[in-house]
Amino acid sequence: MRKIIVVSAAAYLLVLLQIGFLPHLMPYEWYRYLLAFFVILITVCERPRGKLGFAAALVGGFFADVFSEGYMGTHLLLFLVLVFAIKFILRHYVRFPTARAI
């Protein structure tokens, strides 16, 4: 549970960085996929049955939707599909020696 809270907070902080801090320092193209990269990284690194990727997708996706135009739930669902897809591929086709690190 503690890990889920930490990952959720990290996802929110990344959104905050992306909308409030990084625009001052670098072009948008450099950090536009930061949150997506974070979700992918967490999903790839956690245990195959872990829930951290879903937590990052839900919280990060929710805040990304709040701070975007368009329909609510777009980022959230995209990230969830991403996590489902990565987990499916990792379980069936890939084995990392370091996959149990987190």
Binding site: L16, H24, L25, Y28, R49
Partner: protein, 261 residues
């Protein structure tokens, strides 16, 4: 260890249903999140602004030294120029009125603090919303009367504005001090294009582009930017030119919403 497709699909559909249901409560959700996290956002925005100024100063130290010397020399020239300008001011005001350049001094402005950029490149947030009298379609400008964007979403105490570079943004504009008019439209990712300029008009590079609204939706004479050299084939009826905006939202802590003009 098996991947339970049916079970996962059911969970996903449930979440999708809730995500879709969020759209019925968008103003409440976005407004609520802004209310809770807004102060933190503004702090992060201001910290980023301060830090970027610091890094800019450190990285450009030599350049700043030279710039300082140049500015000192320029200051002397400007003092002399000022004396001359004061005598010309009255005449200049009349000319600006005649050229319809006067960015209406009677317009009512509401100062708003920038609360961050959006997750997509071409929107930004302000800490004033419906309860402060902000409405969709209002123009957002800086103290220098540079037009930055148009309010596109309004919540109770916050609002979102589309930058001029947003792909759905378009403002009617003209080249200052000429009768050349066209439309400045966004191309996304901070890019602007001056379009619909008749081919027979001579569009000089680095001309000042100002607003010239067809309807009464924003004042005329607000600064948009400078154009680059015109592009497009000679057989096309209109010419186009990239526009470099006169400023960036990141340079500002406060902007102004034109509530009436």
């Amino acid at each position: 260890m098996r991947f339970h497709l049916g079970q996962n699909l059911a969970v996903f559909l449930l979440i999708a249903f809730f995500a879709a249901a969020l759209n019925f409560f968008t103003p409440e959700i976005k407004g609520g999140v802004f209310n809770v996290f807004g102060p933190l956002q503004k702090t992060v925005w201001n910290t980023g602004s301060g830090l970027s100024d610091f890094f800019r100063a450190v990285l450009n130290r030599t350049e700043l030294q030279k710039q300082n010397e140049d500015l000192a020399a320029e200051n002397e020239n400007l003092r002399a120029e000022l004396v001359r300008m004061e005598t010309l001011e009255k005449e200049n005001n009349e000319l600006r009125k005649a050229a319809d350049m006067e960015a209406n001094d009677t317009m009512k402005l509401m100062m708003a603090e920038v609360a961050g950029r959006g997750m997509s490149a071409d929107i930004f947030f302000l800490d004033k919303g419906a309860k402060d009298g902000i409405r969709n379609g209002m123009a957002v400008i800086s103290a220098e009367k540079i037009l930055y964007g148009i309010i596109s979403e309004v919540y109770s105490s916050y609002s979102a504005a589309r930058l001029l570079s947003h792909p759905d943004s378009s403002v009617n504009a003209r080249v200052y001090d000429t009768d050349i008019s066209g439309a400045v439209r966004g191309e996304g990712n901070g890019k602007l294009l001056l379009d619909l300029v008749p081919r027979e008009k001579e569009l000089k590079a680095d001309s000042l582009i100002v607003t010239r609204p067809l309807a009464n939706d924003y004042p005329s004479g607000l600064i948009v930017g400078h154009n680059k050299t015109s592009e497009g084939s000679d057989v096309e009826p209109f010419q186009q030119a990239s526009v470099v905006q006169s400023g960036a939202v990141e340079e500002h802590r406060f902007l102004f919403v034109i509530t009436d003009f």
